[in-house]
């Protein structure tokens, strides 16, 4: 709107927005500062936001983990699982999107509808048979059940990339074809560089969903050497074992760190991705 907004109105707007966001973010701020407090004081000095003495003890204590396994192992596992999932997801989703949007093959429409349906299908219907399949394959307590299905792409990503490809003129394909590009070269040399923004958006969300994935780890990983961060945190926070709240909060903060950093670096892609495709975060 081109109306001039009065300065008082503007000031009220900023005050309102800032106070709401402060209330919203406060728990995170609280957890952050608590992780630097003396562990015994975490739950007894809640009124006081800043630690009276800044200590890194919690990070040392927490990092040593539990059951003889340190958080180094858990973070390493999470990074392995997440990285492999992201690569597979982005690669396969972009390939499928290219196939659906640019190649007229038999059965395309039927399969496209199948793909759209999987977008609405609650994953909970599939977990029991999937569990049976993976245990028959003897894949339980390996990373395979967490990684391999991700190499089938996700309908959300395929859909997002198809929408992005729709904006790329098909004359480009034809020109490349005349110049002697076959389909594979067309995809790797021309399409992939052009759809990079969509790929980044997909990669970011694939990362979030895998990094936070709790149910998969809960079902398939059952020895501490294999635990990812999410399942390790859950066990670390078990009411029967936890007494070191400082260490618990410190590890929580560390587990959020990769997500927050990625968000700050790539927020442009994330915001655009959601706005154009309605991806859920």
């Amino acid at each position: 709107m081109n109306k001039k907004v009065s300065p008082i109105n503007m000031l009220l707007f900023h005050l309102l927005v800032i106070s709401i966001s402060f209330v919203m973010i406060y728990p995170l701020i609280w957890m952050f500062f608590s992780s630097f407090k003396d562990s015994a004081l975490v739950l007894t000095t809640i009124e006081q936001l800043f630690p009276s003495e800044w200590k890194l003890n919690n990070y040392y204590n927490g990092w040593s983990g539990f059951g003889g396994t340190s958080f180094e192992v858990f973070f390493k596992n999470s990074f392995i699982v997440t990285t492999l999932s992201v690569i597979g997801n982005v690669l396969v989703s972009s390939m499928a999107a290219y196939g659906f949007s640019r190649i007229k093959f038999k059965g395309r429409n039927v399969l496209f509808v199948c793909m759209l349906i999987t977008m609405m299908l609650p994953a909970q219907v599939l977990i029991i048979p999937q569990y049976i399949i993976f245990s028959k394959l003897d894949w339980v307590n390996t990373f395979l059940p967490l990684v391999v299905p991700e190499w089938g792409g996700r309908a959300f990503f395929i859909f997002l990339i198809i929408q992005f490809m729709a904006g790329i003129p098909s004359e480009l394909d034809e020109a490349a074809k005349i110049d002697g590009c076959d389909r594979i070269k067309l995809y790797t040399r021309i399409m992939l560089p052009l759809i990079r923004p969509a790929l980044v958006t997909c990669a970011v969300f694939a990362f979030y969903w895998k990094w936070d994935d709790f149910m998969g780890s809960l079902l398939y990983l059952n020895t501490p050497e294999k635990y990812t961060v999410s399942i390790a945190l859950k066990l670390f926070a078990d009411p029967t074992s936890v007494s070191d709240y400082g260490a618990l909060f410190a590890m929580c903060i560390l587990s959020l760190l990769p997500v927050i950093i990625l968000f700050l670096v790539l927020q442009k892609y994330i915001v655009e991705g959601i706005a154009t495709s309605g991806l859920k975060g």
């Binding site: 038999k106 219907v125 599939l126 999937q130 391999v148």
Partner: protein, 323 residues
């Protein structure tokens, strides 16, 4: 003549070859997706349906028992009804609240200011963190007896010293609030929708003397209805799937007041290894979600407004304001 027919033959031959090539390339590109779709989705989907009519514990062979799982669910299992009622309360309280918040904040942020992108990020942050175990752990301590929430309430003059997560009246609310807290992605979708509403609608309405509220109810809201529809469907599907938060914050307690459906499904299937029973539960869930999705879509032609249709009564109202 001969030459011409030969030529035609050649053309159809190359055409056929091209079509064949297109099919090969098509399946080459969608191949990896297609294989995973069949192995990890289509086959499990059918298997799950078949398993729901069996008694299966992973150790012995599945035993066909007809509709017994469903009969037991609906007639004998009290916890199933408890889980259903908890989940319904959760979904129908948290989804409207989340959308309301998302819309309110989107309207607030839909103005020109250099700080808006920053605010947008801050409001979106909970959405990307909310699914993590760390945030659930944090939430648990915030809503405990001596947590941040009680201290905040006391500081603004509302006395409160209950433990929100272990009181049976408030436990579900602590999870609902966590769900509402993550309104960011809906907000971004609303913001994108608001940006697409042509400004001259508002200018014309202002000239006609329509106030802020009339503009909102006669322009903004009708034009946002397709986005509201989309958001509602996605959030309801997501709401029925709530699991991590309920498991970590309350683990179903106190006295099963937060036993959400998927948590109960998980317990039956993977704690007691009643795979057939769990499959039946999964199919009931699928039917419930499908029913609500269909209901919302069905009802949508009475309340969703599409700009290029002209017969709808709302359009008339809009025209009155615009012209």
């Amino acid at each position: 003549m001969n030459y011409r027919s030969k030529n035609a033959e050649l053309i159809t031959k190359t055409k056929n070859r091209n079509r064949f090539k297109e099919n090969v390339y098509g399946y080459l590109f969608i191949g990896p997706w297609l294989i995973c779709f069949i192995v990890f989705m289509a086959i499990p989907f059918v298997t799950s349906f078949v398993l729901s009519f069996t008694d299966y514990n992973m150790l012995s062979e599945p035993k066909f028992i007809g509709l017994n799982n469903y009969i037991e669910l609906f007639t004998k299992d009290k916890l199933f009804w408890q889980a259903l009622s908890v989940t319904f309360r959760f979904v129908f309280l948290s989804v409207p609240l989340r959308l309301l918040f998302a819309l309110a904040i989107a309207l607030l942020l839909n103005r020109q200011s250099k700080l808006v992108p920053l605010y947008r990020c801050v409001y979106y942050l909970p959405s990307i963190l909310g699914g993590s175990v760390a945030v659930s752990v944090m939430w648990k301590y915030c809503f405990s007896k001596t947590g941040v929430v009680n201290i905040f309430l006391n500081s603004i003059g509302i006395p409160s010293d209950i433990s929100w997560i272990s009181n049976k009246d408030t436990a579900l609310w602590s999870i609902i609030l966590l769900f509402v807290w993550q309104f960011g992605s809906s907000m971004l979708i609303f913001l994108a929708g608001l940006k697409q509403i042509p400004k001259n609608y508002y200018e014309a309405a202002t000239v006609d003397g329509a106030g802020v509220f009339r503009q909102f109810f006669n322009i903004t809201l009708p034009l946002l209805t397709p986005i509201i529809l989309f958001n509602t469907v996605m959030q309801i599907i997501g709401g029925f799937m709530v699991f991590t938060q309920a498991m970590i914050i309350t683990d179903g307690g106190p006295v099963n007041k937060t036993l959400v459906y998927v948590l109960y499904l998980y317990q039956q299937s993977f704690k007691y290894y009643k795979m057939g029973y769990g499959s039946a539960m999964a199919w009931v869930l699928l039917l419930i979600v499908g029913f609500f999705t269909a209901l919302i879509f069905k009802s949508s032609n009475t309340w969703v407004f599409y700009e290029n249709e002209s017969k709808k009564p709302r359009t008339k109202k809009l025209k009155k304001v615009v012209s």
